[in-house]
Symmetry: C2
Subunit: 576 residues, 2 copies
């Protein structure tokens, strides 16, 4: 963590720079926003030379804590025009940690279109020209690079969509078993990577060893306490067996499952694409299918999966709730194999399944093709890879697609598509969509869990709860750990500080952790304001304030001025 | 002027409402922004039910003053997301005046896609279902409606682009001779009209008489003074003979003529598309070609034209500088007949020739087709009418086109394409592009004339001059008169107040006129801020600050913080 690799993509210059004391206390998401504020003109063109493409490890990214190693990708977003952090599992975070790197920062843009790979090894880094990879899809790119640099090498890459600099382009990455393709999906960060002329980053940590914590025993002790809490948590088993798809049934029952481009909140074929169905089919089909996979090595929750074809051959890894919803119910598609195929295609061409699914939904809603037309939907995703006009529109995400089709029903906030939680019947997440600097992003503060104790359709308490969820999100994203680690910190918030103290030899309390998170959120809003985004005016789309959502027949009715007071609401000390 | 017609496009209800005393003192552009501020949620969806589509007559729109009758079309813009006024000549303004109407306001949106015509007569108005006009191009629409309601009826209509609610859609209108198709081009207001399900507005003023001025003799006297000044002005004859195309040579020499998507500021084939060439060909070809046409009845400047085919048949009326530049040099096309054809096609499908030309330029710059490919460019415009994916992209304007093609060279400000004056070598207009609530719009404050006394490439005085030009623009656009009337007010600013006093029986001085303009500009910024546009952050695109523009090799280098102080700069009393 004591070095940062800086790459000037115009000159080809590579520099290792010592991490400053201030940077040392930043991690992942908080590193990204502070780096942007320090060095990037907020008004810059997201795909121009002034933007940075940042790969940043969380504060605990080089430790063996369970779930640690989730990686933050960041930049000024081409989709939202504001700061963006997109969080991803896989093997890259741990590799970065082993290589002793806090971050890799790609600066400037090349003078001519170029296709290069940045290879980072223990003893140095180099830029390699790879014209043969131009236009190549994600998995083939990964295979080619792991063929060259070894299957142990972690790869971050873009598909054709990123090379086209489309606003919904993702950064795809490997897991440690060479099976999963994980993606940093939100915010179009693949377009920023593409603008730098970098097709992939290879992190070859052979021979490198992650640094030891400042106090190994203390770290091991806290780590064990946390592992025990997680193992004992009643949700862990369900997460292991069913993963995120498990919540599809919950969302359908709550009436917040995006269905037919957010026309309704429940789907008559929900059972066919539910978590139960996914799990059952994995077991029944056997073969390469698998449940309970970790996304980062050593995670004891292990909520990922390999979803197989009917013949047992691996189809996609991993199949997640948000993608099933946006590519399934949202398109009126009730066939899980078609959904898997669509998801796989999105990964291959390199676009976000959420924004891509929302874009196709909008196109269906405007009559381009009928809801339920899986073949038509797949063809649209293929066209993204081919760079046709329609493909480029879809690959630019739901906001551009809606504009091009003249739609008044565009499910986006700050240009970014809503994930799989309709805010009309889960109002807390609506506040997050509107007020987070991240735009419509469930990972910024998902209110789903609050539905157990707070009427999700009521307006009471939703603003405050969103504030709390956003504080928590910023902590987890800066630590480089998963949301599912939360039960440990709920039980004892001080564990969060103890982890940092053991890793770095600091003397923090929860209060310091909280201050770091508050400062991260504040800095994000500062960046957005300076980028010309007037956050106080952001809102849920007009149609969601007017059009009632069946089956609950609710509109989004939290007054804008009440949402604007979010940062004045109290979040209790220690709350997680 | 003492009535306003309000049409609820959802319920079909039509209401004539008495103009309030406050509204009486607003006209055209100032009426639009004040109506929006009073009644429209600035955060609304531009093509949703909360927006207004406003047709507003200028304060002098019902008088016989030369150039009076230019009409303001306004709404929250789908292109910029802010307030927009687009000004147009033609016969509709005078017809509105005769009908005693200050404005027509279309409210709400229909529940289902519909194609209706609003017919306004002396004795009332009605909404007529016209499914036969769905998808019909502009001229055919006008012909069909004038066939039905008489050739004297003024028509405002949209082409297919407006029906598709594309962000660069225009509102086309007739002149009093049934020859010209004039368009209110900027800001995508055709999409707002389309969203209301209104294909056209027919203003049939048969039997109606414009109200007499409060003091007819005084009015006649001021009018005569103004006419004399205009007739005596040395620029008038040139304007009459050559019209706006005359400035193409000037702009080419200054190095501000957009050429090959703003790659250079002069065009080696400039002579072939210049004002001289246009004028010569009109004379040489004869037939239906004509110079010195008025755009509003009674204008003594009469700078419009009918540009003929080689065989003398009318091709397009009128051919204007900005369109020649954006569709000619900007696309590397040096054939004036091809430019005329492209312009005609833009009018027919109903998109702005400026934003459409800039969009095709960006597509050419990104390699979709080569510069100079007139056939390819025409095919793209035809596709707008057909509603293909590529057509919808181009019809959404340069900003969306640039995004979809992943370009870093998008010549837009606030989402709107720059007209035919590259701000790198005419810096005053750059300040207007960045700081006007209207986005990149030369009519908001064109600094071209200032090049005579202020170094156009220098930074000195440009911010202040833009302020002055913007004040003047808001006066003229609120009066409903042409920029070319300016020499009269330069000679004696009090003439502006005297016109209002004679028309309305007021007691204004220039100071009141100026206050009205200041208040109009202030209100526009208030609306934009409330719409979430942080005006202090607006800037010229990054590439124009970095990429030097040949042949002068200038970048846009007025510091952002200096531009932000524009409203603090002094504009002398009486300056016009």
């Amino acid at each position: 963590m004591n070095r940062i690799l800086r790459v000037n993509t115009r000159t080809g210059e590579l520099r290792y720079v010592k991490t400053t004391e201030k940077e040392m206390q930043e991690g992942g998401r908080s590193f990204i926003v502070h780096n942007l504020l320090r060095e990037v003109d907020p008004a810059c063109d997201p795909i121009g030379g002034d933007n940075h493409f940042i790969i940043a490890n969380g504060l605990l990214g080089d430790t063996s804590l369970t779930t640690a190693g989730r990686l933050s990708i960041g930049a000024k977003s081409p989709l939202t025009g504001g700061v963006k952090e997109s969080n991803v599992g896989g093997s890259a975070g741990k590799a970065l940690g082993k290589l002793g790197l806090k971050a890799v920062i790609l600066e400037d843009i090349p003078e001519k279109v170029s296709c290069r790979v940045l290879v980072v090894r223990k003893d140095g880094a180099e830029l390699v020209e790879t014209p043969e990879l131009q236009g190549v899809e994600s998995k083939k790119t990964i295979d080619a690079l792991q063929g060259r640099y070894g299957t142990e090498a972690a790869v971050l890459c873009i598909g054709p969509a990123g090379e086209y600099r489309l606003s919904a382009a993702v950064v795809a990455t490997t897991d440690h078993t060479g099976v999963q393709v994980r993606v940093a999906g939100r915010g179009g960060l693949g377009a920023v990577m593409g603008s730098k002329g970098i097709k992939a980053v290879v992190l070859d940590s052979k021979g490198a060893t992650a640094p030891k914590p400042a106090d190994p025993e203390a770290f091991s002790d806290v780590k064990k306490q946390i592992a025990k809490i997680i193992r004992d948590d009643p949700k862990t088993e369900n997460r292991h067996d069913y993963g995120t798809p498990a919540v599809l049934g919950t969302c359908n029952a709550l009436g917040i499952l995006p269905t037919r481009s957010f026309r309704t909140g429940s789907f008559e074929q929900a059972d066919a694409i539910s978590g139960d169905t996914v799990a059952e089919l994995i077991v029944k089909r056997g073969g390469e299918g698998k449940r309970g996979l970790p996304c980062v090595r050593g995670c004891i929750i292990a909520c990922s999966n390999i979803f197989p074809h009917p013949d047992g051959k691996a189809h996609i890894a991993s199949l997640q709730y948000e993608n099933i919803a946006l590519l399934g119910s949202n398109l009126g598609i009730g066939d899980i194999d078609e959904v898997a195929e669509l998801n796989d295609l999105c990964n291959e061409v390199g676009i976000d399944a959420i924004d891509g699914g929302a874009a196709i939904g909008v196109a269906m809603d405007m009559g381009l093709l009928p809801f339920g037309d899986a073949e038509g939907a797949k063809e649209l995703v293929r066209q993204v890879g081919q760079g046709t006009a329609m493909g480029r529109v879809i690959g630019s995400g739901a906001a551009v697609t809606g504009k091009v089709f003249g739609s008044t029903r565009i499910p986006t906030v700050k240009g970014q598509a809503m994930p799989a939680y309709d805010p009309r019947s889960l109002k807390g997440i609506g506040v997050t969509y509107a007020m987070s600097a991240m735009g419509a992003d469930h990972t910024a503060g998902n209110a789903l869990e609050t539905a157990k104790y707070l009427d999700p359709q009521g307006t009471e308490g939703q603003v405050q709860i969103s504030h709390k969820l956003q504080v928590r999100g910023a902590i987890l994203d800066s630590f480089g750990v998963c949301l599912f680690l939360r039960p440990a910190f709920v039980k004892d918030p001080e564990l969060a500080a103890q982890l940092l103290n053991a890793r770095y030899g600091w003397d923090w309390t929860y209060r310091d952790v909280r201050a770091m998170s508050d400062e991260c959120l504040r800095a994000e809003h500062e960046f957005n304001r300076a980028a010309g985004i007037d956050e106080t005016r952001c809102d849920i789309p007009e149609f969601m304030r007017k059009e009632a959502l069946p089956p609950m027949n609710t509109t989004f009715d939290i007054p804008r001025d009440e949402m604007q007071k979010i940062w004045e609401t109290e979040v209790e000390e220690g709350v997680f």
